[in-house]
């Protein structure tokens, strides 16, 4: 089974891009599964289900979303294999820009949009900087030169990646992206694999539900700003 992790900031167009690729894969009679990770709620699972895709939804709720991701992804891969999927795609939003769901030896995709500002590529951590494929969306809204400037800023922080411009609405570029999905990592299990980069940690009183503000309530792994 081909397995890919797709991540990106909220509203960057991850679901639309994946849907366009799914259409191209379905035209080749491939069976596709999607795992959608989100925090509070999502209706994207319905968008996938409407395409006839096998879909699983995971809401992290009060837990750190990326820790939730890594605690569940192995079982999701097992689920994909058991259901004879040809492709399994995991979709998750990088909410704090320091998190990354990318796994060593698993094809990693980051979706980022042209409207997010020229400094955004620098602000996103391993989710963008360690991705194999960077998809830039919403190119139809800006001029060619602005697209190029934005792509060069992405290239600066991840020069080894394949960078592609995809239009999630018209599907322009989706065919080309699909050829890369077809070459994606082919696995049966995630057992023994590792994340590409460690996740941010805290393990402090606030992790355990503390809401009061003040030094006396802060215990555990706490860090202070430099004065």
């Amino acid at each position: 089974m081909h397995f890919l992790t797709v991540s990106g900031p909220p509203s960057s167009g991850k679901t639309s891009v994946i849907l366009r690729v799914i259409e191209a894969l379905q035209a080749k009679q491939k069976k596709i599964g999607v795992v959608k990770y989100d925090c509070l709620m999502t209706e994207d699972d319905l968008r996938y289900a409407k395409k006839g895709v096998l879909v699983k939804k995971g809401l992290s709720g009060s837990q750190c979303p990326d820790h939730y991701f890594v605690s569940n992804i192995e079982a999701c891969v097992k689920w994909g294999v058991e259901n004879d999927c040809d492709f399994l795609i995991s979709e998750s939003a990088g909410l704090c820009n320091r998190c990354s769901p990318h796994i060593k030896d698993i094809t990693a995709v980051c979706v980022i949009d042209n409207l997010s500002g020229i400094n955004t590529p620098r602000k996103i951590g391993p989710m963008l900087k360690s991705a194999d494929i960077v998809v830039i969306t919403k190119g139809d809204i800006v001029s060619q030169a602005e697209r190029e400037v934005f792509a060069s800023r992405v290239k600066q922080v991840n020069p080894g990646a394949v960078i592609m411009n995809i239009n999630g609405i018209t599907g322009q570029g989706a065919f080309e992206l699909t050829t890369l999905f077809e070459e994606a990592s082919d696995i049966e299990t995630l057992k023994g694999m590792r994340l590409r980069f460690s996740m941010p940690s805290a393990l402090c009183s606030y992790c355990l539900g503390e809401t009061r503000i003040g030094d006396e309530y802060q215990t555990g792994n706490v860090r202070k700003m430099e004065s």
């Binding site: 060619q144 792509a151 922080v157 065919f175």
Partner: protein, 332 residues
């Protein structure tokens, strides 16, 4: 220079030779200080805890630096000259063969006509992707009569095609001058300041209304944006092929814009329904049902009509200007 040789150079020397290295490191939140220290020593001395906070490992930083240098150095190389672009027909949406082999050369203007949804975008995408029978149309694209290197597909440094889309919006918070400078710097062109000045000057010659270098790009009119993008493309882009998705007839001298691009010895493909632009082309590809249904050579009779169309266009333009300056049109 090879990457390994670079690592043993003092940073002072590297920054003098490759000033963009400073920005590369700052994009990861690191500061490269000019000094006698070698780059290798600097990398070795980075604090692992600081790197963890920045969200990057030393290994990955080294790999990124390697890839980035390779990309930047390749910008300085001369790309292979494109003498011809050949499109070998595939199939339309009904499966009918296109049965054509079309060769385009630098300086040529080819118009693409057909209703919305007929397959104009797919044709442009086939060229951009240098299709080898692996797209839905089954078309093949040759460069200089050869199957081109796969690098054209994914390279951001050597793009085969520069596309000028209909949308000319800007969202970046920069002045026209800052924007063009940033674009020039990302292209690593020699003498960026001279290029920036030329682009702004050309754009003002094409635009109906003048703008200043410190005008924010977001405040440019549609015509001014188009003028700026065409001048930018003509002067900065190294891509040998230009795809244009219509040049709207407002606030820009379309004829001069096209001439500016033709002068740069580019192959120009333009989707348009504008009669003046269409007749300025050497040939017109008629797209129907996803396929190229017909190729029309602009005839002598058509060319003769071009003069008349331009006259009509100028008349309309003069009327537009009268409206702009508050005159009435009781007599035209």
């Amino acid at each position: 220079m090879h990457y390994n040789e670079l690592l043993i150079q003092p940073i002072k020397q590297l920054l003098a030779d490759y000033p963009w290295l400073e920005d590369f490191f700052s994009s990861f939140g690191l500061q490269l200080q000019a000094g006698d220290q070698t780059l290798q020593r600097y990398l070795d001395g980075l604090d692992p805890d600081e790197l963890l906070d920045l969200g990057i490992s030393r290994e990955q930083l080294g790999q990124s630096l390697h890839d980035f240098m390779a990309g930047m150095l390749s910008l300085e190389e001369e790309a292979e000259k494109v003498e011809s672009l050949t499109i070998i027909g595939g199939f339309d949406k009904t499966g009918k063969a296109e049965e054509l082999e079309l060769t385009l050369r630098p300086g040529e203007v080819i118009c693409i006509v057909g209703p919305t949804g007929s397959g104009k975008s797919r044709l442009l995408a086939d060229i951009e992707w240098v299709a080898q029978g692996d797209t839905p149309t089954g078309r093949k694209v040759l460069i200089n009569n050869k199957v081109p290197d796969n690098k054209w597909r994914f390279s951001t440094e050597h793009k085969l095609v520069a596309q000028l889309s209909q949308n000319m919006n800007f969202v970046m918070d920069l002045t026209a001058e800052e924007f063009v400078r940033m674009h020039a710097e990302s292209r690593l062109v020699p003498d960026p300041e001279e290029k920036v000045a030329r682009i702004l000057e050309q754009a003002n010659q094409l635009a109906g209304e003048q703008f200043k270098p410190d005008t924010p790009v977001t405040a440019l009119s549609g015509g001014q944006s188009r003028a700026l993008m065409i001048a930018d493309m003509a002067i900065l882009s190294k891509s040998p092929i230009v795809l244009i998705d219509e040049i709207e007839n407002a606030g820009i001298d379309r004829k001069r814009a096209l001439e500016l691009l033709v002068k740069q010895e580019k192959i120009i493909l333009m989707a348009t329904h504008d009669p003046i632009l269409a007749l300025m082309g050497d040939r017109r590809l008629v797209i129907r049902n996803g396929g190229i249904a017909r190729i029309i050579e602009s005839s002598a009779a058509e060319r003769k009509n071009l003069a008349r169309l331009e006259e009509l266009d100028n008349t309309l333009l003069a009327l537009r200007n009268r409206i702009r300056f508050g005159e009435t049109l009781e007599e035209i």
